[in-house]
Symmetry: C2
Subunit: 422 residues, 2 copies
């Protein structure tokens, strides 16, 4: 089986090198040899540490008849969409690690592919075979819920904020120094990368059709040491979660946001740049998958498992439940209908009657308080920080209450809210 690698960066060069280094076991497992024959790069003069020929001429590679599978690792959305579409139209197999491409175009590409193999194991959670698990390992199950820590950058920052008491800015700076965060980190810490991955998982579990713009996405930028303090007091850990949850009426809740989760949950132990995904199935209950979510060789491991599957002619099911009329293309639940528990932090003037006013506003907006904490203040402080958590309630009630509270003159800082995932 001859393979072209479109994009020979960190992942692409590892794909080429592992195909050569582990040639013997790959032959044993695939039944045929899998040979990288050409790499597409922008600049052929740059050294890349690979033994395959390189070319900058995309057209000449795509049109080669002797290539069986194209591995797309170019990055971006529209350019790879064009390239992958053309390859699939030529009935050649494609393997990609490009989550953004899939977040926007997965159904179109899947339709184009038809019976032509189209693999994207590497697009979610790097080296963890989570797509195979969801599609095949748990295929007997109605999926109730998926909760994932799927962005290593955010998880590294939050882990350092919790374990080393670092401020957000310092933890981010360290992540950048270590190469875990980009110079412009907003795609990762803003939750967008996690949202792309969530849409891919939700497509498989629920046949959800939607773009990242259609779902609730919040990042970790506003989390402070005060939130960490509260989490510690109440045995919570703060994680950036990607959540897909079956709701009523053929609807699915999809959301990405920081969340307080109990210290007892297995997911709370997923630290640093590692990824973890918990899946709740109606037969199996909870199972959890943990491993490196990024990195050249871990991602290449997933790419190559797709190549081996193609060589072995493993039949992957399509995205979503194509044959299942009752659930085909479940709808995304409007975000104001989300129901969960909430935490908020309020900075208020230390005046009489403030607490009475606050609890009154909450009660008027159907919020019921589960716990309350007032941090001891120094004598000289004129302000105090209040922390509340609520029982399960509706997102629209929380949003309304926060908007009312924000307008009160005893409030000295914008109120901050984190959802609680229990």
């Amino acid at each position: 089986m001859k393979v072209a690698i479109l994009g020979v960066g960190t992942v692409g060069s590892e794909v080429a090198n592992i195909l050569i280094k582990n040639k013997d076991i790959i032959l044993a497992r695939a039944g045929v040899s899998i040979e990288p024959v050409i790499g597409l790069v922008r600049d052929t003069s740059k050294k890349r540490g690979v033994q395959i020929p390189l070319s900058s001429d995309a057209r000449s590679i795509i049109e080669r008849d002797d290539i069986d599978v194209f591995v797309e690792l170019m990055g971006g959305v529209e350019k790879p969409y064009e390239v992958v579409s053309e390859i699939l139209k030529r009935k050649k197999a494609v393997v990609t690690a490009n989550k953004a491409l899939l977040a926007y175009h997965r159904y179109k590409l899947q339709a184009l592919a038809g019976d032509t193999p189209f693999g994207f194991e590497a697009s979610v959670a790097g080296g963890i075979p989570i797509i195979k698990t969801l599609r095949e390992g748990l295929s007997a199950n109605r999926i109730e819920k998926i909760i994932g820590i799927v962005n290593g950058t955010s998880n590294f920052i939050l882990t350092n904020m919790m374990q080393k008491n670092e401020k957000f800015e310092d933890a981010l700076k360290r992540a950048q120094e270590l190469g875990y965060a980009e110079a412009d980190p907003s795609f990762d810490i803003g939750g967008f990368d996690a949202a792309h991955k969530l849409l891919i998982l939700a497509s498989i579990a629920y046949g959800v059709h939607g773009d990242p713009e259609d779902i609730l996405i919040e990042g970790i930028e506003e989390i402070t040491q005060e939130d960490i303090y509260f989490a510690r007091e109440f045995d919570f850990i703060i994680k950036l979660l990607a959540v897909a949850k079956r709701a009523c009426d053929n609807k699915v809740e999809l959301r990405v946001h920081p969340a307080l989760i109990s210290k007892d949950q297995m997911l709370s132990k997923v630290d640093g740049v590692m990824n973890g995904v918990s899946i709740y199935g109606d037969c199996v209950g909870e199972s959890m998958y943990y491993g490196p979510g990024a990195g050249g060789s871990a991602t290449a491991s997933a790419v190559i498992s797709d190549l081996i599957d193609i060589a072995r002619d493993n039949k992957n099911p399509m995205l979503g439940y194509k044959i299942l009329p009752s659930e085909n293309f479940m709808q995304i639940l409007p975000s104001e209908q989300i129901r969960t528990k909430y935490y908020f932090r309020l900075r208020v003037r230390d005046e009489k009657g403030v607490l009475a006013k606050l609890t009154n506003i909450m009660s008027l907006n159907d919020l019921s308080i589960d716990s309350f904490l007032q941090k001891p203040k120094l004598k000289t402080d004129e302000e105090v920080t209040l922390f509340f958590t609520t029982h399960t309630c509706c997102e629209k009630d929380i949003k309304r209450a926060i908007s009312v509270i924000s307008g009160e003159n005893f409030i000295t800082q914008k109120p901050f809210m984190i959802r609680i995932e229990s």
Copy 2:
């Protein structure tokens, strides 16, 4: 696709019921409907809460031409071996959850099966798709090491000993009351169940050919609260581990025994009856798989995923590296050549010179001490407990040192050793 269920107990009845309850999603994922048509039981008069016809006549079921797949859930070894062999000779597909059958006869059955599908996802770690992960998800990797907590009974007992300070006997009794342990628990707590599962995983990863009798198996029966005390002092957790590790010269280390593992390891958080398996691959690094290792519906989830794979004609590779001459059928490393770190607990008379004698014996046997702890004793005690850990050394040196130490007259109890897995 018509399915016969041979053995309609806890798992078999769940397989029948889930195939009916989740009919729609199973049809969507398999592409065809999967229908349980008959169940084999010993006593047809017993109520089993299933809607399929039951029969006690094995022969009449096996000979039915309309059945496509036989699910073997009979238990035992030789009887199911006979039945499964006959079915495979008739070129009919088999799915089994029977780990003992596979521990002893997997290569013979695989050879008999040839191209006929033969699935056994449910035989290891219940609902966790660990066999698919090892065979397909991580197929690009040379597997360096597998470390599993694969016996829920032992893990429940050890978790309670550590978290609730229960004695072994009390934790075992509670496991029996809750239905997590058999009346005769020796198969689980003695490590034999874990050894069966280890051999199945090692077959896939290394093509190891061996029976349970060929590998090192130790149980958890002799662990006391003193070992728990030491573990806590040094930030260890005690778990019953099943370990497969690539050694030199085409050899694999296979062993089942209680072990001290660092609190930082993800595997140390696998508590209660849950299972967890860490796999180290040369490309992906460490990944970990966590979920329910037993229970009717979790195990049925794995059985049905095999049925769906068969319906979809997913090609599973054979056991081991059939096509890979260099590693085909790796050998089991003789247990005296195992190299790891060790902990031991000694009960000695509180006399002068004991420590000097002990350290002298260790040094003469090439053991180098990594840590030492002497528990503070009451004035009235005439004995003390000493704890040692060693640097990495060889199993035969430890065994020889322990045998020498046992013969000393200051020793008042049989010395006890636990391996350390770092």
